[in-house]
Symmetry: C2
Subunit: 490 residues, 2 copies
């Protein structure tokens, strides 16, 4: 066996074990009995220490030094394994353990603080998580930018400065569009009615199939916060149900189907290698977002969905397919990121990006975070935050140490814009297909041009290859202007 | 840290990882998408090799040599860890991995062969599994009896010779009872009707609670073959539903509740130690069997269940509680072990024990297995096997390498006989309680006298402590004679 073969054989078990870890996470959110929580924490910690030991195994360093790569796939394998090894070995084991422990505890403290609207109860914990993550960033980055170091966990290759420039270009056009829409005088009616759980779940499964989800290699369950989990031949999704509001269920499903199809459509040759998963959070989000928004919320598809939902639920109390399309794409001021429409969504991300970057660089102190959040929210959204659960306590991310994750949501939207522009050029009849409930053209294009590559290319590169153009915010902003311009007549 | 403390700390992660392995098995039977089977085999193999490496870690041998035990618990920990270490270090890692992989694949091949009634399609796989298990037995046992070596995985301390002697004493009385019952001229009517799935599952959950199952640390799902899985604070069960026959569902549930309650009622002090699980398959089966049979199929409890089922399903088409009790305990010739009544059940086990022992010792070849099975079945059950799925292809066990497992079912019945005899002496009013649907006395006795000890004592010892008498087949056979004598008037 060559050093390369030894390395890949070792990596295969590491990948298999990290799939197991993912399945435990899935089970925890969907199936686990409540009383098993403490025991599960021990099980996860034991798995984590097995994975950490494998990732920092000195033999990996030795194999990497001696391995010779021939061909793109081998080069990509070595590049990604090297990156994982360097990151893992730079972080002292004690620090990794302290972080795992602190974040696992912090999630409960955050949830309680949010329920009690008690920022003060969360701040010491947040400060501790932040301290540990800054220490980790310093261990990885040395003298380089600590926020950039954290970004690499989610979007390899990107820098905070690049994101700042991108977001600064986006902000004026988003603010302008928001202003025009909200002052248009048109306020679409939401759906009214009772939408039984069983019917929502049945339609949800039908939509999943329509968007190409393979139930032979996945399944749908309910979860409080929908997520997708797993890769290779076992990529599961979850959804949620509110019987007074069906879009939450249906569009969560389509969103998670986008994530899962990305994993399921990766070339089988990469199965249980480090190339066998989605390449970054941003590219992942480009798939879930384009399935949900560019496809699922298009005028073409909502026309078909209007018929389907009327069939399923009876009278929806909207007058026609145009009114239904407007209801699906209703723009409304609101505090909560996860409930935001396409116009507001990125403004939420821009706010979080600036604040978390300042926290990591040390320009903002935890004690000043609430005021900074509320000031910025008032400036960008024109509304004062009424309570912490509608403000800085709304997202779980920071409590579990996810600094550097938020910007990938907007990056995903930007990537989706680029990809869909080219998809539309390649598939001139895509609207006619989607209007008949046929998503095979659009999802097939994504599978062939992007999803199949897994981790073979870097995030920006795989998007640029598929879109055949440099990454730019323009296609997304043009799409938003055109879409909401049409609905709101602005 | 002392050597003992180091050892226990190491063992804790090993136990946690083996819980994870168990959860993967549960997922495979209940939730896993079909298309994920090959990937799951890789995941299980990777976990197995992690567990194997931990169990054979030379530091464990060193700690065991240096550890000083004070007190029963520490002594039991060292005894069981030593046993696990000795077994694991005797089996080459490659062989362990090959077995894990082969058995995971073999299960599918067996299922297909059974569906197609195609013995020939299964034989090469069975031969391969047998070859690997014999190799393993030889590695463990050296010159000693290979079947005895395999028995230790399921019932530590027992030998094939002891089982042969026990079973030889049982056989004449079982054959005699069977003859008397079948020639009694009484043939109780089974239930007739349609028993909707939802109602069966709801009653199933109610029965689980009645028998003391803690849903905060467990859950019930459907599976083709009911099983229980997990220990500590996460012990799950499964059941099956046939809408034309409700007892399969209800008594499978009670049976699995017996297994799960054993795990859940072990002293919390043993959590994530090697003492924190049921001590043997036989003792485990003593719990599931006594819950199912001595409690669940007693005249007292079936009286209560008759009312409950009439409430749930309406008219059951049996004339009274006595006829219902006879329907629950109907004795019938039949091919299938898992459908066998209490009179026939042990005869099934005796057959399998003799055949599998001969396979392992080499006295029987795989090619001759079908003929041997069919001859023995005709001799013991008075009927010719009509098709392989009613004969040697009926059980999954051998396909997954479980040689030495079958006898623990009958051993469990024997233990249950001993335990329940003493339980009845200690709880003179137990029938009056069970007749009201109150199982707390009987299950509480089991929890306090047996379940709480986990792996603290050896299997025979823990039964003898609880029963305050040596293990003997007499109480079981007396119980069967009395019960079926009363129902059939023989």
């Amino acid at each position: 066996m060559s050093a390369y073969d030894d390395l890949i054989a070792h990596q295969k078990d590491t990948q298999a074990l990290s799939e197991v870890m993912g399945r435990l996470g899935w089970d925890q959110e969907t199936m686990m009995p409540r009383g098993a929580a403490d025991q599960r924490a021990e099980e996860m910690a034991a798995m984590e220490s097995v994975l950490h030991a494998r990732r920092t195994d000195p033999r990996v360093g030795d194999w990497l030094d001696r391995a010779e790569a021939s061909g793109d796939v081998a080069r990509a394998n070595l590049r990604l394994i090297r990156r994982e090894y360097d990151r893992a070995t730079k972080v002292p084991a004690d620090l990794a353990k302290a972080l795992a422990k602190a974040t696992s505890r912090a999630q409960g403290i955050w949830a309680e603080a949010r329920a009690n609207e008690d920022v003060a109860a969360f701040l010491p914990t947040l400060a501790e998580i932040l301290r540990l993550r800054r220490e980790e960033a310093a261990a990885i980055a040395g003298d380089a930018d600590p926020y950039d170091a954290l970004l690499q966990d989610y979007e390899p290759g990107i820098t905070g400065a690049e994101l700042e420039a991108l977001f600064s270009r986006m902000r004026p056009r988003l603010v302008d569009l928001r202003g025009r829409v909200l002052s248009s005088g048109y306020n679409p009616e939401p759906l009214k009615g009772h939408f039984p759980e069983a019917a929502q779940l049945a339609l949800s499964a039908e939509l999943a199939a329509v968007f190409g989800y393979d139930f032979d290699r996945g399944r749908i369950d309910k979860a409080v916060h929908p997520f997708s989990s797993g890769s290779g031949h076992d990529a599961r999704i979850t959804t949620r149900v509110d019987e007074s509001e069906p879009f939450g269920c249906l569009y969560s499903t389509i969103h998670e189907v986008g994530h899962a199809c990305y994993e399921l459509n990766i070339d089988d040759a990469y199965l249980l290698t480090i190339l066998g998963g989605g390449v970054s959070m941003g590219v992942h989000e480009s798939q879930s977002r384009s399935y949900e928004n560019q496809m699922g919320r298009s005028r073409a598809f909502t026309g078909w969905l209007f018929g389907k939902m009327t069939e399923t639920f009876g009278n929806l109390n909207v007058k026609d397919a145009d009114a239904f399309h407007a209801a699906v794409n209703r723009v409304q001021s609101g505090y909560i990121r996860t409930e935001a429409d396409e116009v507001h969504y990125n403004l939420h991300i821009l706010l979080r990006f600036d604040l978390e970057r300042a926290l990591i660089t040390g320009d903002l102190q935890v004690a000043d975070l609430e005021a900074a959040w509320n000031d910025r929210f008032a400036a960008d959204f024109g509304v004062a935050v009424d309570k912490p659960s509608n403000g800085m306590l709304q997202d779980v991310h920071w409590s579990v140490g996810l600094f550097g994750y938020f910007p990938t949501y907007t990056l995903g939207n930007v990537y989706a814009g680029c990809l869909f522009k080219t998809l539309r050029e390649d598939l001139p009849h895509v609207d006619a297909q989607m209007a008949k409930g046929d998503l095979s053209g659009a999802t097939g294009w994504m599978a062939q041009n992007l999803q199949t590559h897994g981790g073979l290319y870097e995030p920006g590169e795989v998007v640029e290859r598929a879109a055949r153009a440099p990454v730019s915010e323009a296609p997304l902003l043009d799409y938003l202007d055109a879409k909401f311009g049409a609905i709101y007549g602005v």
